[in-house]
């Protein structure tokens, strides 16, 4: 019996409304490492995949989690990815992912010279753990109760829809009814 609440590898992507060439993120992410902008995480390197169509773009590689300026689906956005060291409590782990992703979005919006903006109306949540969280309806039903309250707290009224093929880890589209700012969403967590 699978249990998605045992999985720690969660990912959360917020989409950009005004986007920029992925390569523009390379110096920004290097600066984040040098200046220890994310002060409670060890950030290590920057990986450039801007040459790959609909790929991971530019990735700020950390020990416990990565931050992508992601080009997946052909829709640029900020994707947070927890790799290890997550909270054993799934609710806290998901809340942490929201907090970190939203905070990173706010930081990028404030980066001078980037002109990057994100929307709090839509997000893509996934669990990269096919053992504990396959992409099927039963797993979705089992996980909804964990995800929905946190998504609501951050984004207001939301609808959750599972999507993607069965080979993926659990993948959930989050759509929010309101049009709050990323700052507001981050502050609510």
């Amino acid at each position: 019996m699978t249990n998605p609440n045992l999985a720690e590898r969660v990912q959360l992507k917020f989409y950009a409304t005004d986007h920029v060439p992925a390569m523009d993120l390379i110096p920004v992410f290097h600066k984040w490492i040098t200046d220890k902008v994310i002060d409670d995480e060890l950030m290590i390197d920057v990986a450039d995949y801007s040459h790959v169509d609909k790929g991971p773009g530019v990735v700020l590689i950390g020990h416990a989690s990565d931050y992508y300026y992601d080009l997946g689906e052909g829709r640029p956005g900020l994707k947070y990815s927890r790799k290890r060291g997550g909270n054993a409590d799934a609710t806290l782990n998901v809340a942490d992912a929201f907090k970190r992703a939203l905070t990173a979005c706010v930081r990028l919006q404030k980066e001078s010279g980037l002109s990057l903006a994100f929307s709090a109306q839509e997000a893509l949540f996934s669990i990269q753990d096919r053992l504990h969280a396959p992409n099927d309806d039963a797993t979705f039903d089992a996980f909804k109760a964990t995800l929905e309250p946190i998504a609501k707290k951050a984004l207001g009224d939301v609808t959750l829809t599972r999507e993607g093929d069965a080979r993926l880890g659990l993948t959930i589209r989050i759509r929010a009814q309101g049009a709050g700012s990323m700052e507001d969403a981050a502050a609510r967590l």
């Binding site: 249990n3 290590i44 991971p56 590689i61 790799k83 053992l131």
Partner: protein, 747 residues
């Protein structure tokens, strides 16, 4: 509360022996964590499972302004100076590049879960996943094992992935399909006791014919080229080839080895290598050095003696009874090529190749810098299931090929590629650039080969339709260091990352290598025409290709053009862009491609002391480069011995510059320079490269001792020129290290 594990989930799906091996590896991880396993032993253990280290795994990161410690959660190590928690790379062996749809799905899943969703195709038909954690490896291995993949001996001093032409079995120029033979060699040597005690790695390649580039057998430790004589199948077997710091073409071990003798012959070679190959000095431990040391004839004799002692093994020939075991079966009927729009026609021209079987094509899917996403991986698996069956092959040019595509399906297939960002035309052309990881992730990288390749690709894509056909057909390969993983020696235009000191700051450069050829199994290796700053490389490509177009005679190939005009002409051509501008005039030259960090160590002081000394030593190093250039000119005129002698003199000049830089008195004669060099730079290890150690110094010392340059033939001259080039590069690097240390001390 604990959940299911991959070990439990896959217990019935994994072959028992693979499951057991992975359990043992997992046990070794636990032993290492408990402090019960030595660093070196664990390092070799994980390497033999394909789990590599990556840049910064020593816990230090260059920020461009200085070194920043990376404080990982534990102080545990997974090898000497290699932090346990540092991201690493997992290499996945795919013998002869073959991948099934199921395997592609699983590798894509692994990329999603344990890496950064990118699968990277290497120049040896492997897949690499980067930024993985060592503790995730056993589960990754289990999931691979459940699809029949083992990562065993993906690295380490053993037989590496056996490569073969991706057109094997469907090619109109091949003697016969080498796939079952490559498969037999893979299975036979995997874990074989005779290949466990090598001093270095051992690479085997198969090619179906002599003239095409696909097998690249000339630069392999052992190469086998299919031939049919008197109706009998066999192989021309070559041995002792390799690229790396000093490229050597493999030599013919057997003009015709019958198929039943292939495995025993290969085994005898391995046993000789294990017994007599260098074990202490890694720099000279590849089989090419053994062949050079004992001479080809003596090596052949040793192999023949070893072969005569081998006891018959039924596995040598068992596979011959069913050579069709590796055959692929098309799932759609063959048909003439479909018509499509102009973009399809353009793609078909470069990316589709007719098979020897009527109505079928091999589709090459061009992967930029060898990268594709997990999403694209799943699309490839779907396309294989829908159109071709399990016929995916990874190529040594870092692409993916799907075979047995019916001509009737080609347009629909292409449209699916386009929809998923894989419809790029221009496979095997100037925009299809191979690059090793370089400074992106490789611990040995000197310059950003991927950054350069990405930039060149971007610029060339814009103008590719306007390029003359002869320029479009050129191959470019970029390596981040002398280890040559992009196989740049065999490119029309190759690049090799080096660094230079300009005004007390480091500037990333690339040596420009011209005159190589990928045809005839990488039949010609190029030589250095000069170094240019990294940021000047696009201009260099533009200048070289324009010169080729303007001065080409008839249908002259680029290789023939370079032979005719000489590398000196290219050097002269590049001279105006060979010097980096002063930092104050253009600081962009002091960073590498797609990396904003200053390449030099930013807090390096430019003190008065360094300011006075720099011109002096740099003058000496420049003089050495000038001599090497003259040596290259002599070599082009086929004056082998004078060329080698001049190359040796260039090394002496570089050594003298360093000796005097250390304020050591020495005369101008080579004997005294080398005596002082040995005392002050070799014995003290000051000259030692952090990774290659005394390798480059030994080039000088051995040449001085052997005087081999005095009667050099073309091959020795070529080798001496290569060694001189590397020695001078090492002299530059040594000088940089000394100045940095001085600056640190002054601080």
């Amino acid at each position: 509360m604990t959940g299911p594990t991959w070990k439990d989930r896959l217990s019935d799906a994994m072959p028992e022996h693979l499951a057991r091996e992975i359990d043992v590896f997992e046990g070794q991880i636990e032993l290492k964590k408990a402090g019960k396993l030595d660093d070196k032993i664990f390092a070799e253990t994980r390497l033999r499972r394909g789990a590599y280290g990556q840049r910064y795994d020593n816990g230090m990161r260059n920020d461009g302004t200085g070194q920043q410690p990376l404080v990982f959660p534990t102080a545990l190590t997974k090898g000497p100076d290699t932090m346990w928690d540092a991201p690493g790379m997992q290499r996945i062996k795919n013998p002869f590049g073959k991948v099934t749809a199921e395997q592609m799905d699983v590798m894509s899943d692994l990329a999603d879960e344990y890496s950064d969703s990118i699968l990277h195709v290497t120049t040896r038909q492997d897949i690499q996943l980067h930024f993985v954690h060592i503790e995730d490896c056993p589960d990754m291995h289990r999931r691979l094992a459940a699809t029949g993949i083992t990562t065993r001996e993906a690295c380490g001093n053993s037989v590496r992935n056996v490569t073969a032409c991706e057109f094997s079995g469907v090619c109109s120029t091949e003697g016969f399909d080498v796939t079952p033979y490559a498969d037999a060699v893979t299975q036979y040597f995997l874990g074989h006791p005779d290949v466990q005690d090598f001093g270095r790695k051992f690479k085997i390649a198969f090619s179906g014919c002599h003239d095409e580039p696909c097998g690249a057998t000339t630069f392999h430790d052992l190469g086998a080229i299919a031939e049919v004589r008197d109706g009998k199948r066999g192989f021309r077997v070559v041995v002792g080839g390799g690229l790396g710091a000093v490229p050597v073409k493999a030599k013919v071990l057997s003009e015709f080895c019958e198929e039943r003798e292939l495995l025993p012959l290969a085994q005898a070679v391995c046993r000789v290598f294990a017994r007599l190959g260098e074990k202490q000095s890694r720099a000279r431990a590849r089989i090419k050095f053994l062949v050079q040391k004992v001479g080809l004839e003596e090596f052949k004799k040793l192999v023949a003696e070893e072969r005569s002692k081998l006891r018959d093994d039924p596995r040598w020939t068992a596979f011959l009874s069913d050579l069709s075991a590796t055959d692929e079966t098309p799932i759609r009927p063959g048909a003439p090529l479909a018509t499509g729009d102009a973009a399809f026609q353009k793609w078909a021209e470069t990316n589709l190749r007719p098979q020897s079987q009527d109505g079928y094509y091999v589709a090459t899917i061009k992967m930029p810098l060898g990268d594709f996403t997990s999403t694209q991986g799943r699309v490839l698996a779907d396309l294989a299931r829908e159109y071709t069956g399990d016929t995916i092959r990874l190529t040594i040019e870092q692409n993916v090929a799907l075979r047995w595509l019916s001509g009737a399906d080609a347009y629909a297939f292409y449209q699916r590629l386009v929809d998923n960002g894989m419809g790029d035309a221009g496979a095997r052309t100037i925009t299809d650039i191979a690059a090793c990881p370089g400074t992106d992730t490789c611990k040995l990288g000197i310059s950003a080969s991927r950054g350069l390749a990405g930039e060149l690709r971007k610029r060339l894509k814009v103008i590719e339709d306007d390029l003359p056909p002869e320029v479009r057909a050129l191959r470019i390969k970029a390596s981040g260091c002398f280890n040559s993983c992009s196989q740049h020696h065999a490119a029309d235009i190759g690049f090799l990352g080096v660094s230079r000191n300009v005004g007390g700051r480091k500037v990333p450069h690339f040596n420009v290598i011209v005159g190589g050829s990928f045809q005839k199994n990488a039949g010609e290796y190029g030589l250095v025409a000069g170094a240019v700053p990294s940021k000047a490389v696009p201009k260099a490509v533009e200048m070289i290709t324009q010169k080729y177009t303007a001065e080409r005679e008839g249908d002259e190939s680029f290789h023939d053009f370079i032979e005719r005009v000489g590398k000196g002409a290219i050097r002269k051509l590049l001279k105006p862009i060979a010097k980096a501008p002063a930092y104050e005039d253009d600081p962009s030259f002091y960073s590498d491609w797609r990396d904003p960090r200053e390449y030099t160590i930013g807090d390096l002081g430019i003190g008065e002391c360094a300011g006075e000394i720099v011109p002096f030593v740099e003058f000496g190093l420049q003089a050495a480069e000038q001599e090497l250039y003259e040596a290259q000119e002599l070599h082009e005129k086929k004056e082998s011995a004078p060329a080698a002698g001049k190359a040796f003199a260039a090394m002496v000049t570089a050594a003298k510059a360093l000796v005097r830089f250390l304020d050591v008195q020495c005369r101008d004669d080579a004997d005294d320079v080398i005596a002082q060099f040995r005392t002050h730079l070799f014995d003290t290890k000051v000259f030692f490269d952090p990774y290659a150690k005394g390798k480059f110094a030994n080039y000088l010392l051995k040449l001085h001792e052997s005087r081999s340059f005095t009667n050099a033939d073309d091959e020795i001259a070529h080798r001496t020129l290569d060694e001189a080039q590397l020695f001078i590069e090492a002299a530059h690097a040594c000088y940089q290290r000394i100045t940095e240390a001085s600056a640190d001390a002054a601080e």
